[in-house]
């Protein structure tokens, strides 16, 4: 249960990667070049007052998730 809660709170990000997000100071926006579950992606990390907002742009050309 505890592990699942952490997964939800951390999204697809490892604990190590979350620690690296610490370089993003309040109100800053920083781009990271990472692999999430083996998939290359650009991460735009914005440090907001209430937490980190992170836009994940997966590199793979294919459409991964088609919304209904």
């Amino acid at each position: 249960m505890k592990g699942r809660d952490f997964k939800v709170a951390a999204g697809p990000f490892s604990a190590e990667l979350l620690q690296r997000f610490k370089v993003v100071k309040p109100d800053e926006v920083v781009v990271f070049d990472e692999k999430l579950d083996g998939r290359p992606a650009r991460l735009i990390v914005a440090n907001r007052r209430d937490g980190l907002r992170i836009m994940v742009l997966y590199d793979d050309g294919g459409v991964l998730h088609l919304e209904p």
Binding site: V31, R53, E67
Partner: protein
Amino acid sequence: MGDILRDRASGSSEYDKLVLSILEERPTGATSLQKIGLTVLSVLEGRVPTSFHAHHFGGFDDDLAESVDALRSEGYVELVNGKTYRLTPAGRRLVEEYLTDDESTRLKHISGDLLPRMRHLSDDEIVSVVYSLFPELAERSLIRNRIDTGPKRVKNVEVLEVPHPA
């Protein structure tokens, strides 16, 4: 023609370069151009630009809009079907051959890095994910009640929220 383009390039503002670098990557509607501009400038400056304010549809910069109008009146940008901006041949030549200063190069690098990864998203979908990345810009929007600023996944783009790392 070359001298005209060279002069135009040397007289281009940061916003001119921003607009041209974005449109080099994809034709774009007016609202999504503002949101992409906000994203690219945020990455360039390392923070949300203070020039973007919550106005009408949120996250709007008057200078960016004025650049679009000026570039259009000069024939470097055209409006297609009344809603999508794209480069004219002269505009493409301007950005590819003459915008070679450091600022233009950085803007083109950021646009070229991020925008191809958004190529599956429609203009409306781009607006939606940028609202999620910068939710405060929707607060004073006229359509704020219809804007979902929460985390979301649209095709190959996700916006997530996580707590500050301990």
